[in-house]
Amino acid sequence: MYAHPFSYHRVQSLGQATKLLQQLGEESRVLAGGQSLIPLMKMRLARATALIDINFIPGLAEIKNHNGELRFGALARHTDIEMSEHVVAIPILHDCAAGIADVQIRNQGTIGGSLAEADPSGDWGATLLTLETSVQCIGPQGERSIKLEDFIKDAYTTVLGHDELVREVIVKKAPRNSGGAYLAFKRSAPVYATASAAVQLTLDGKDICKEIRVVLGCVGLTAVRARRAEDELRGKKIDGKAIQRAAEAARETAEPQSDMRGSADYKRALVAALVKRAIGIAVRRARGERVEAGHEYVGR
């Protein structure tokens, strides 16, 4: 399958990309890893008259760790993040990076591209909304830093202007006694999840939940905070009953659509189960246990 013809522009800096986006107009698009854009263009679901390839910009894939923050260059590939020694400090990031689609797609797809695409089933949105995350953007007016919750506006829609690009994704490291988990259930490796749950919490002592964020993926127009589920646990003792109440609250927050991945009821049930398990794993990790978690699919 072939995409519509387009002109191809390779840039050496984000500043150059911004200028070209302005010159080439609304039908020009940025090409990062291309793992969403290229299939869409091939199926003629997306059309660009010009592509601005940012893959050759030097230094844009770096992952840095300083001042209590992890900074991911827009072109950091999912594999780079999976393999990064810095990511060990925040296990939920590894859960996410190591299970997105399959090896080949993780080798090519980027964190900046994933966030800018804002697919409601994307993994990074749900994962990063549980942490203090900001997106450093660059446009003709210079740079601005946008909190992730303000960055994602709607399905496939961000606040980025046409001539604006993601430069860096900045994640604040969680305090001590914190743990998190990202669980995504999918029918096979290469596909998007049917539903996903991301949980990040901080313990006070052994079993009091000091702070918690619960985010659900694939069950709304964007990844959604399950605030009522959080309220069931924040400031309270985490036991089986409290976790069950949180899972039920998450089920009610979810607004899934029935589609080929499953009925709305099925997805609600799935979300509740994933939230329950993610909380359990997050608690164990907060206590210092090493637990494997991530994407789940048949044959894994």
Binding site: M1, Y2, A3, H4, P5, F6, S7, Y8, H9, R10, L31, G34, Q35, I38, P39, M41, K42, M43, T49, A50, L51, D53, N55, T79, A101, D102, V103, Q104, I105, N107, Q108, S188, A189, P190, V191, Y297, G299, R300
Partner: protein, 161 residues
């Protein structure tokens, strides 16, 4: 530059510098098959799912149906044709032959490259790690058991060297 304008793409393929003048929308897999006549890389689903088009780009596996050829410009590619040396099969190819790790063979070039990529990073993978490493390669004949056997055998043969 207008949309119709072709560009020169230069890629080192299996150790040889190659180039062709193509439309920017040319997919890497079509560049390899049509422009360079390297038809060992297959097109299966053409929708980023099946992995039949898997090649190594700068040492990492990618689905060549999901890259425009200019994205690989200046890079190094290994296709299935590049696995043999002086007519000798690569140990991974040998293991697939020995263990009957294929039936129709359509998915095999992709699986071979995913295996080469895996064993370069992890010389002695567990079964779980093998399954994860080939999750992006679909085989509709074998049921995967013999593929797993082949990968285990390749790992132990390569370890002996």
């Amino acid at each position: 530059m207008s949309a119709a304008e072709k560009i020169t793409v230069r890629i080192r393929v299996n150790g040889e510098p190659r180039e062709a003048v193509v439309e920017p929308r040319t997919l890497l897999v079509d560049f390899l098959r049509e422009n360079l006549n390297l038809t060992g890389t297959h097109i299966g689903c053409d929708t980023t799912y099946c992995g039949a088009c898997t090649v190594l780009l700068n040492g990492r596996t990618v689905k060549s149906c999901t890259l425009f050829a200019p994205m690989a410009d200046g890079g190094e590619i290994t296709t299935v044709e590049g696995l043999t040396t002086n007519g000798e099969l690569h140990p991974v190819q040998n293991a697939f032959a020995e263990c009957h790790g294929l039936q129709c063979g359509y998915c095999t070039p992709g699986l071979l490259l995913s295996t080469v990529h895996l064993l370069k990073r992890n010389a002695q993978p567990t079964d779980k790690q093998i399954r994860k490493a080939i999750a992006g390669n679909t085989c509709r004949c074998t049921g995967y058991q013999n593929i797993l056997k082949a990968i285990r055998m390749a790992a132990s043969e390569m370890e002996k060297r």
